[in-house]
């Protein structure tokens, strides 16, 4: 029961979607059924995000209760969760500060705290990539040299000053980079990766539908 029921559910839902691929979505029963399942998966999947949130609260709450290391910071995590969540759940008819619209607490926290912090977190990567370029980007072998030369050429090609520099050389170097590196070797590799990954995803899908692949269920 613990394994058979999920396998049966995965098989049925998968098969309906697969069959619907061959039928007119708007005019057939299979099409209508698959559309219903798509709506269901949006609902069920939405709950997974809520589950994740509950898990974060549990982990942080436990750490605060037991006064684990950095518990005071975890307390701020909890405060932030509730500060964003509670006002967004209250009806905007009570106050314009509630709900999700512009002017609400929820929106304010997003615009003035979350968005700039998310952007800054990723902006710090610019420093790390510069440091990595200095420390780790070495022409240790022929392969690494090839990578290094291409990276340098593309870095020059993608900026106006670099392009002006490349144009000092004869033979329209920027166009050669676009045609033979980006639309030649790079395109070929990306195509190979896309084809390989898509074949892998399709075969994995088949394994899930047929119940061969069950690792997503976890243990027990």
């Amino acid at each position: 029961m613990r394994t058979a029921a999920p396998v049966a559910v995965a098989f049925l839902s998968g098969v309906i979607l697969v069959i619907s691929f061959f039928f007119n979505e708007e005019k057939t029963v299979v099409g209508g059924l698959s559309q219903e399942l798509l709506n269901w998966v949006i609902i069920v999947g939405g709950f997974t995000l809520l589950l994740g949130m509950v898990s974060i609260i549990r982990v942080n709450w436990a750490a605060v209760q037991r006064r684990k290391e950095n518990w005071i910071y975890r307390l701020f995590t909890l405060i932030a969760i509730f500060a964003a969540a509670i006002p967004s759940l209250l009806p905007p008819s009570w106050s314009p500060l509630f709900g999700r619209a512009e002017g609400s607490i929820y929106d304010w926290l997003f615009v003035y705290l979350q968005a700039p912090m998310m952007a800054t977190m990723f902006a710090t990567l610019a420093f790390y990539i510069a440091s990595a370029a200095y420390r780790a980007f070495r022409a240790r072998s022929a392969d690494a040299t090839l990578l290094l030369i291409t990276a340098t050429l593309v870095m020059l090609w993608r900026v106006p000053m670099g392009e002006a520099f490349l144009n000092l050389f004869p033979g329209d170097v920027p166009n050669i980079i676009n045609d033979y590196i980006m639309n030649g070797a790079n395109l070929a590799v990306q195509r190979g990766i896309i084809i390989g990954a898509a074949l892998g995803a399709a075969s994995m899908s088949l394994r899930i539908i047929l119940g061969i692949e069950r690792t997503y269920m976890g243990k027990g």
Partner: protein
């Protein structure tokens, strides 16, 4: 005794950070305004949008997180400007839960005000629904079935612009702005499955992959990172934040190339020195 290159190799990373910081700040104070060339991929994207019939309906998709706003938002802004300038109707939506519904709202509202466009008749923000594959597939049959209301909760049946729009058949173009793999699903599900033409504006990190889709004709064009956004700004003759950012990009790229060169000289010099010892 530690040689010069050995010391250079072991230099505190914070000096590198400081140089990067300076390279970003200086061009802000002294703009250089190097000319930005337009790539064939951006040109074909622009041409495809330009060739759309006036007043057609286009999906402008905000599939990006606030983390990459500096790269992606200029694309969304120029896209909305180009589309509104052609009197196209815009449907915005997103597959990203973090902030994208609000970003779609603020960008389109700002650009709509520039062109005198009104919500509900010229543009609609459908907002977010969980599960991109199900959402993209489901809209093939009925957009209203997947998005019963717009982002603010108004039923689609009460929005005049949505009266004549049922599914992808009424959509002339998808302008996808993305910082993640959802663009792949727009291509594999919507473009391949329903034949809706589309163009992708993506972060620089993603761009090399999408050359394969341009090459295969699955997307009409590509805007790769800040340079792509700057190219589109030039094409619609409205220089914005991306164009201004290219000066800084130039300086930082040269700095990083210098880091690579110095790092390698240090590596080889150090190796020779160690061999001698």
């Amino acid at each position: 005794m530690m040689g010069f290159w050995d010391r250079m190799e072991k230099i505190d990373r914070r000096w590198i950070y400081l140089l990067v910081g300076l390279a970003v700040i200086v061009p802000f104070l002294i703009p250089m305004k190097f000319p930005v060339s337009v790539s064939p991929e951006a040109r074909s994207f622009y041409d495809a949008v330009e060739a759309l019939p006036d007043s057609c309906t286009v999906m402008l998709v905000f599939d990006y997180y606030p983390s990459t706003m500096a790269e992606t938002e200029p694309m969304a802004i120029v896209g909305a400007r180009h589309l509104f300038s052609k009197d196209c109707k815009i449907i915005t939506l997103t597959n990203i839960p973090y902030g994208a519904p609000s970003m779609a709202e603020s960008v389109t509202r700002m650009v709509a005000a520039e062109y005198g466009k009104e919500y509900g008749t010229d543009y609609v923000n459908l907002g977010y629904k969980y599960g991109y594959t199900a959402v993209l597939k489901g809209m093939g049959m009925s957009i209203e079935d997947i998005f019963p209301t717009d982002n603010s909760g108004t039923p689609l049946s009460e929005i005049p612009m949505m009266d004549s729009i049922v599914n992808y058949e009424q959509i002339s173009f998808v302008f996808e702005v993305a910082d993640n793999a959802t663009a792949d699903y727009w291509i594999s599900i919507v473009n391949a499955g329903y034949g809706v033409p589309m163009g992708v504006g993506c972060t620089a990190v993603m761009a090399p992959k999408y050359y394969a889709f341009v090459g295969a004709g699955q997307i009409v064009g590509l805007l790769g990172g800040m340079k792509g956004a700057a190219e589109y700004e030039i094409l619609i003759e409205q220089e914005g934040t991306a164009f201004r950012g290219m000066d800084i990009q130039s300086l930082v790229h040269f700095l990083i190339i210098a880091f690579v060169v110095i790092g390698n000289i240090g590596y080889f010099a150090g190796r020779r020195h160690r061999r001698k010892v």
